[in-house]
């Protein structure tokens, strides 16, 4: 896989079927449905303690806005990922082009996916910082690889944004 900036696009080329599939899983991985730990992490309370009035108002007014914000980002990413659909046999040479104006949506969707996967698997800080872990021998290892791969993409996008 190669990743570079070309004018107003971030280009990810030489995508093998495995990494292309991981990319296609971003929108689905960002979903919190059926995972209370992920739901709790993504929609965390605005205050610690027993300010029930604020928490209730937050749930009623702020949370729906956040849901819309996150959904818009994953929809944008989903639309970009349609480039990877089609003939499975040609996936090896697929190239994904992300318009730089979609960079914020990608940062958000990648972050949502990483947080949801980490919450679902209850990864420890030690596991998350173990970037040399190999090989992938279980579903848990695969999820950890997914978190790190999405993190790598985030880092690249941030660098291209000049952050």
């Amino acid at each position: 896989m190669e990743i570079c900036r070309r004018k107003n696009q971030i280009e990810i080329s030489e995508l093998d079927p495995f990494l292309a599939e991981l990319l296609r899983q971003i929108p689905a991985s960002a979903k919190t449905e059926g995972a209370p730990a992920a739901e709790q992490r993504i929609f965390s309370p605005p205050i610690n303690g027993k300010e029930t009035e604020l928490c209730a108002e937050w749930k009623m007014y702020v949370e729906p806005e956040l849901r819309r914000l996150f959904q818009t980002a994953t929809q944008t990413v989903g639309a970009d990922l349609e480039q990877l659909n089609g003939n499975e046999k040609s996936l090896a040479s697929r190239t994904l082009r992300i318009p730089t104006k979609h960079a914020d949506a990608w940062l958000s969707a990648l972050n949502q996916a990483r947080l949801v996967i980490a919450a679902k698997n209850n990864f420890t800080e030690l596991e998350l910082s173990d970037h040399l872990r190999s090989p992938i021998g279980s579903r848990r290892d695969l999820s950890l690889f997914q978190v790190n791969f999405y993190g790598f993409l985030q880092e690249f996008i941030l660098r291209e944004l000049g952050c």
């Binding site: 956040l66 940062l107 972050n111 947080l115 420890t124 993190g151 880092e155 941030l158 952050c163």
Partner: protein, 120 residues
Amino acid sequence: MSAEPLAVEVAVPVTPRIFPKSAGPSTIGAPTIEKETRAEEELDLPWHVVVHNDPVNLMSYVTMVFQRVFGYPRDKAERHMLEVHQKGRSILWSGMRERAELYVQQLHGYLLLATIEKVS
């Protein structure tokens, strides 16, 4: 590294200040009392915007968010990010509750763990 907030907007308790009418050496005039007035809500204790550590969010991402949300220069944003990373939390801003809630909403929009806390 200091745990103190780097940008603080606090309501100052109002105390009457007394200024002499004349600063001349031989006469002392009657004092004029200048009274500062503030809106009632300004006298309320301020609230902190606190960001908590999260092992998933990237350091570079958190720095970018602090720059965007609070308009902090990069070095200040990095100091706060490191404080979150090393101490588990950092006070990013202090001031009126309404604005603090707005900041927390923005930080949640970037998926950071953030809360408001009343200054005790």
